[in-house]
């Protein structure tokens, strides 16, 4: 019997509510407490201090990790130093084999890593599963291939490793940042001591297991957990020849100052306030996707986030209409749900920072827009936010918010767009949206930014160098250029 008119009307009124689609987590085992990974083994820390790591979506404790003290740091650096002697002298093709193994192991344990990453950090499972983990495996695969090809990377040079690298990474892409640091360092023949961020230590500790599974020689990779103090002890340890830091510009400057005169090599990957520039001839619907991806991917916890939308005035109204409509389809909620687009804010501290800056935006006179969004009761959450009527001088236009908050400004001509985009102490990335190829190249030439995305945004690849101009840091990660910070070119 065909459906009656009334039944049809009733059914039509129902909306398409996506039922919960939780990722299975029963195959994942997080231990109640972890030690430190030093000299190829999980060892009990000397330090008596431990701290919890929680799931920011539920505020539940996941595990307890150690706060490594000076003795622990010393042991780790010493283990790395000992391992360096044999690792640096090993035939490069042998080094390559270990790195290839690690890459394949990451692929084999991909789902487990993705679940842990999401639980520990709050990012949606579809991001950790489809972006973070595959890119991490890819970084190891790419740099594995460089280990025995360094003579071709730098013509007429005999590249030599530096020694022990001390590496401090942030909480926004825990395993990926670990891969960006460890892969090139090892491929170049160095050994490492790495400290993951205090709110996201778990994927690094799982990585330690992978090093063991790969039978990586003891001490080549050491993982020590802790907070700012541990990081500081690590970068200042005399046994560390090379320091790599990704984090806030504020801390980056502290490290740079503290290393002055030490002779240590240093690379910094710091904050940003990228301009995402949309011209009137841009493919509009794809530009909207690029804007959304630029600032709401990973809840905006991205150094290269497109946090300033510079839209050509002639197209501002239709673009903003489309953007606001698009925001209403963003799904905020349980990061372990496969349909979640916006996950949890990484920590209470970060949430408070975001809230403070958003407050300042309202105070300074910007107009705020947030789609209707039901925030879960427990956990740290912030809805996707757009500020219009923003002036260049407002705090929300100048300071890095590191949250799902977009500030919109307008421009009239390409020259004005360039001026406004570059008018910042930062210089990490920029986006350019236009249908015209020559304009893409003209704009790219003029952007004072280390990464320019044209008609796309937040694209990463192990072959593609990434890093900033000005206060966004120096040095590059990815590509051939990513090897330079870990080598002496003799």
């Amino acid at each position: 019997m065909a459906i009656t008119k009334r039944q049809a009307a009733d059914l039509a009124k129902q909306t398409f509510d996506y039922a919960p689609a939780p990722e299975a987590i029963d195959h994942v085992r997080i231990q109640p407490r972890y030690g430190l990974f030093i000299g190829g083994k999980m060892v009990e820390p000397h330090s008596k201090k431990r701290f919890p790591t929680i799931n920011p979506a539920t505020e539940q404790k996941l595990s307890e990790v150690a706060e490594a003290d000076a003795i622990d740091v010393g042991k780790a650096v010493s283990a790395a130093g000992t391992a360096f002697t044999s690792w640096s002298r090993m035939a490069p093709s042998r080094r390559a084999r270990y790195l290839f193994r690690i890459s394949r192991l990451i692929q084999e344990r991909a789902r487990e890593l993705a679940v842990v990453e999401t639980m520990d950090g709050g990012k949606p499972i579809k991001e950790s599963r489809d972006v973070d983990i595959p890119l991490s495996a890819a970084h190891f695969f790419y740099y594995a291939g460089w280990a025995d090809k360094l003579e071709w990377a730098f013509p007429n040079r005999r590249p030599r490793p530096l020694g022990v690298a001390g590496q401090v990474i942030p909480w926004n892409f825990p395993l990926l940042m670990l891969a960006w640091k460890i892969a090139p360092a090892l491929a170049a023949g160095n050994t490492v001591v790495l400290k993951p961020a205090e709110t996201t230590p778990l994927s690094a500790l799982l990585f330690a297991e992978i090093c063991q599974q790969a039978e990586l020689p003891a001490g080549v990779v050491n993982i020590i957990t802790g907070a700012g103090k541990t990081g500081s002890l690590l970068v200042s340890h005399p046994g560390v020849k090379k320091v790599a830091f990704t984090g806030s510009t504020e801390v980056g400057k502290l490290i740079q100052r503290s290393l002055a005169g030490s002779g240590k090599r240093l690379t910094l990957e710091l904050g940003g306030k990228a301009a995402n520039i949309v011209f009137e001839d841009a493919p509009l619907d794809q530009a909207v996707e690029g804007i959304v991806n630029g600032i709401y991917f990973n809840q905006g916890h991205v150094c290269c986030a497109g946090s300033r939308l510079l839209v050509q005035e002639s197209i501002a109204k239709p673009l903003l209409e489309k953007l606001k409509q698009r925001l209403s389809t963003l799904r905020l909620g349980d990061p372990l749900d496969k349909n979640t687009d916006i996950g949890a804010i990484n920590s209470k501290a970060q949430l408070e920072k975001i809230q403070a800056l958003v407050e300042s935006g309202i105070e300074e006179g910007a107009e705020i827009y947030q789609p209707e969004c039901k925030l879960p009761e427990r956990g740290y959450w912030f809805p996707p936010t757009v500020f219009t009527n923003v002036s260049q001088s407002y705090r929300i236009a100048r300071e890095e918010i590191f949250g799902p908050v977009l500030s919109v400004l307008t421009f009239r001509t390409p020259a004005e767009a360039v001026e406004k985009a570059n008018n910042t102490p930062y210089g990490l990335s920029a986006g350019v949206w236009t249908d015209k190829g020559s304009r893409i190249l003209w704009m790219a030439e003029r952007m004072r930014a280390g990464v320019v995305w044209a008609n796309t945004f937040n694209r990463f690849d192990p072959t593609s160098p990434f890093g900033g101009y000005k206060e966004s840091g120096y040095g590059r990660e990815g590509g051939v250029h990513g090897l330079l910070p870990y080598l002496e070119l003799v």
């Binding site: 065909a2 398409f16 509510d17 996506y18 039922a19 919960p20 509009l284 794809q286 796309t456």
Partner: protein, 307 residues
């Protein structure tokens, strides 16, 4: 009743249509396809998929007997299970319209007929117009026409436009779906342009494909067409429907189209008045998936009728 805009010199208008970034469109479609639709929402979607289905047979070998069997299936997809709704329409060649009309009388299932020298469209406008009148007289509620791709691809947008206007008029009260044959248009820019042209000329629905050419419907092409519908709605206030046809064989695919529809055009398009899926083997896969959701076990094709 839709009114077409009366325009001449469409060339520059068409050439000014905004372009579509292929990579961006592909990525957006792929990300929507990742949505995981489970349990109650899956059952709702599968039910809607049936209610929006144009059960199709377009073969040279179609006979009154074939149409009779298909019609029975259309009205009662699963004999003995009254919770399964009828489909929206059956879609047949002009010569079979009268047979369909007879079988579907009083059932609420519509009769859709292809017309205008389907699938190639390579014939004279006069023939296409008179064919349309004849299928409407034979009892078609809906007409699925093809655009003249030869004219479109050689830049004669005026011809394409005028032809659609003429067919729309010949339809009378029957509603008109305009098939763009996206697989022949070459770029998403062309798809957007053709969508806008068809809607401006009075289409009630725009449809991806005839199903006779590869590639037929794809998610990115559908996304591009839906975005054009969205823009047209905003600019004119007139809602145009969307039909995906060709190559949609599994429930998973059908649900993906519903997700793209929902997140692009919204709840108001989740109805057979504004969305159709042209398919044939899809129906049984949907029935199997419904039974799997209800019973918890994987099904076998043996238990579903082939008509």
């Amino acid at each position: 009743m839709a009114t077409a805009l009366s325009l001449t010199h469409l060339g520059s208008l068409m050439r000014g249509v905004r372009s579509v970034d292929e990579v961006g469109a592909d990525e957006r479609a792929a990300s929507l396809a990742k949505r995981s639709i489970k349990k109650s929402s899956k059952l709702w979607a599968l039910d809607l998929a049936i209610r929006c289905m144009d059960l199709t047979t377009l073969e040279g070998s179609d006979t009154p007997g074939k149409v009779a069997a298909l019609s029975a299936k259309a009205i009662r997809p699963k004999p003995g299970d009254s919770s399964i709704p009828s489909v929206a329409a059956i879609c047949v060649y002009p010569a079979r319209v009268a047979d369909a009309r007879e079988r579907l009388q009083g059932s609420g299932v519509k009769v859709a007929s292809v017309a205008t020298a389907f699938p190639s469209g390579q014939s004279f406008t006069s023939i296409k117009v008179s064919e349309t009148r004849d299928v409407v007289d034979a009892g078609a509620d809906e007409v699925d026409m093809v655009i003249d791709r030869g004219a479109f691809l050689s830049g004669d947008y005026q011809k394409v436009y005028d032809e659609i206007v003429a067919i729309k008029e010949a339809c009378g009260s029957a509603h008109l779906k305009v098939i763009l044959e996206t697989g022949e248009l070459g770029t998403y820019d062309g798809v957007r342009r053709a969508s806008i042209l068809a809607m401006a000329a009075g289409a009630d629905f725009i449809k991806t494909s005839t199903g006779k050419v590869q590639p037929a419907a794809t998610l990115p092409v559908s996304l591009v067409m839906m975005e054009a519908i969205r823009d047209f709605m905003r600019e004119t206030g007139r809602p145009v429907g969307f039909k995906a046809a060709g190559g949609i064989r599994t429930s998973k695919q059908a649900i993906a189209y519903l997700v793209v529809l929902y997140e692009t055009l919204g709840a108001e398009w989740m109805t057979p008045d504004r969305f159709r899926l042209g398919a044939s083997t899809l129906l049984n896969d949907v029935l199997m998936q419904i039974d799997k959701e209800r019973s918890g076990v994987y099904q076998s094709p043996d238990y579903f009728t082939i008509d």
